[in-house]
């Protein structure tokens, strides 16, 4: 059992995968506010004119994704890509869209923001940081579009970032911040690092 020293738990102790959480314990309550999963996808090199995809997170069990946002941590060269940027889920056999194919993010400024603010039938929303922008929310409505994911049993189900390139050198990094909560005891979303 993890011991919470005075001074520690509120600031530094994070809920970690595998930590046993008693029902209706303090941890159980506050995890319903949503757990953060952060992971980046770095794309550097000379690309062919083609479609590309990168797996960056793995889903277990059943989860509710509350907020799905990402941003360009680095946009040193986005002249050739990413065009047609979108997200989906892939269970090694089937693919399900998270956002519609796709948004042109070529020539974006660093720190530009991407968000799922509509259903999977809409493209991911781009807020280019070449100027101040807002998404104008309506009264009482959450701005992020949540979704429930039920992973395929017995197969690695992962979130993917897709884009196409018109061909040429690229250098950009998209970092994700996804807020989720479990809907069953095995529900979890965690970072995925592809084999190198």
């Amino acid at each position: 059992m993890t011991v919470h020293e005075p001074g520690d738990p509120f600031v530094t102790l994070s809920w970690k995968f595998g930590m046993e959480v008693a029902w209706n314990s303090f941890y159980d309550y506050y995890t319903r506010a949503g757990t953060v999963m952060g992971q980046c996808v770095e794309v550097i090199g000379d690309t062919q004119a083609a479609a590309y995809s990168f797996e960056f997170a793995t889903v277990w069990g059943t989860i509710e994704v509350l907020r799905f946002w990402s941003y360009f941590w680095n946009a040193d060269n986005t002249a050739a890509a990413p065009t047609k940027l979108y997200y989906d889920l892939y269970d090694r056999t089937n693919a399900v869209d998270i956002t519609l194919d796709g948004t042109d993010c070529t020539n974006v400024e660093v720190a530009s923001l991407l968000g799922r603010i509509d259903t999977s039938l809409a493209a991911v929303n781009l807020m280019d940081s070449d100027q101040a922008r807002i998404v104008d929310g309506a009264v009482g409505l959450e701005l992020s579009a949540p979704f429930i994911v039920n992973a395929k049993n017995g197969a690695a189900t992962r979130m993917r970032l897709h884009f196409t390139s018109t061909g040429g050198p690229v250098d950009f990094t998209v970092c994700h911040e996804i807020v989720w909560r479990p809907l069953n005891s095995s529900g979890y979303l965690y970072r995925y690092y592809p084999p190198t």
Binding site: P6, V11, T12, Y30, A33, W69, A111, D130, V139, L143
Partner: protein, 192 residues
């Protein structure tokens, strides 16, 4: 680092968002929204359109609630066209509420203004000359949130705007903005 002594931790303010350990208790609780507050005091004879910087914006954040309450009203007879906007110093301002604004010239101490609708609509105004309510619909929060993304490399401001005819103004407004980051290490609202 702030040390949270036993018995005091619930009363201590949280560390800065960027200093929170991801998925620590503070990180979870901060998703309810972090408070930024700013008071402005006006005394004199402002003339014409006035733009008051309230908060700076860096990166991408979700603004959950934005409102202000008059804590002093001595003379607002010339205060009209009150609104909020976002400006990056290079491009035209982005309205947060209708730029046409609300006439506050008859407001009383304790009056409320807030963004309770989309950017095309004037600030919601509850004059404290009598009891008033904002009548919420079933199942909906009362405020209209917005996502704001700053222009990179510029100082971006959330402003309170009003017009005064130079006839004199003495008032104070306490503004509060409740926000949460969309990218935890890269999103910040601070009072000017």
């Amino acid at each position: 680092m702030t040390v949270h002594k036993p018995g005091s931790l619930l009363g201590l303010a949280a560390p800065a968002i960027a200093d929170m350990v991801v998925n620590s208790a503070y990180c979870y609780i901060s998703q309810l929204g972090t408070l930024a507050s700013k008071s402005i005091s006006v005394t004199g004879t402002p003339t014409g359109a006035q733009n008051v910087n309230l908060f700076t914006l860096v990166g991408g954040v979700e603004i959950l609630r934005l409102y202000g309450v008059f804590s002093l009203v001595t003379d607002v007879s010339a205060v009209t066209a009150a609104s909020f906007d976002l400006i990056d110093g290079t491009n035209p301002a982005v309205p947060i509420t209708s730029a046409a604004g609300e006439d506050l010239s008859g407001c009383s101490n304790g009056s409320f203004i807030g963004r309770n609708d989309q950017a095309g609509v004037k600030v919601d105004y509850l004059n404290a000359d009598q009891v008033r309510i904002i009548d919420g619909a079933v199942g909906l929060d009362l405020f209209a949130p917005l996502v704001a993304n700053a222009m990179y490399g510029e100082t971006n401001y959330i402003r309170f705007n009003y017009t005064s005819d130079g006839g004199g103004a003495i008032f104070k407004i306490d503004f509060e903005l409740i926000w949460r980051p969309l990218i935890r290490e890269y999103g910040l609202v601070e009072a000017v």
